[in-house]
Symmetry: C2
Subunit: 119 residues, 2 copies
């Protein structure tokens, strides 16, 4: 038991010290310390969350909303610091997804073998 948590904390430290995380940190701080960039980024995030929530709740999304969201995405993509931040987020997400797949492999092996041949 302690063993699992020891390894989890070691992994946490490795993630925290990784190039992926430190570069995300830099990109995030660059955006947050620029008031205009921060507002643009917050606006982008809020728009995304709003649309996702509507989608999950099965609410209809109007053409105007789709168009508005498209414009917000276009704007942030043209902002060097924000697009850098989004790129770093994607890189770290990839690492987190990989890690998550690795550590849940035992469960996948167990439940994936559920049908057919008994182990």
């Amino acid at each position: 038991m302690a063993n699992i948590y020891d390894h989890a904390y070691e992994l946490e430290t490795a993630l925290r010290n990784s190039e992926e995380f430190t570069q995300l940190q830099e990109a995030y701080n660059a955006v947050m310390s620029d008031e205009a960039a921060k507002q643009m980024f917050d606006n982008f995030r809020n728009t995304q969350i709003e649309l996702q929530q509507k989608q999950m709740q099965g609410q209809e999304i109007s053409e105007e909303e789709v168009e508005q969201a498209r414009k917000v995405v276009e704007t942030v993509q043209q902002h060097p610091q924000i697009s850098k931040l989004m790129e770093q987020e994607q890189r770290l997400n990839q690492v987190i997804n990989d890690v998550s797949r690795i550590i849940t492999k035992p469960l996948e092996d167990l439940y994936g073998a559920g049908e057919g041949e008994q182990q």
Copy 2:
């Protein structure tokens, strides 16, 4: 980068060799090797998944369905091998949630500090 994955694989091995996982494996195999228990468990899981999907899609769940689900839960809880399996699943889920919270702490620290004081 390699460092992160090395630690992830070490964590995976620790999880796979943990008492929590090996006991889950035993409980799962005990249910799967008993045809009646397996059918009861599959029925329980399918009922759960069906209701969750309806809920997520905002569909109404009838009184009959709630009552039916309640009966299925009652039945599996009274089955020693299945209730043992569910208990072991909860134990491992707790460990996985703890691990997940530990390794995403850097992101929580970064984004949680987003408002208010700059770092």
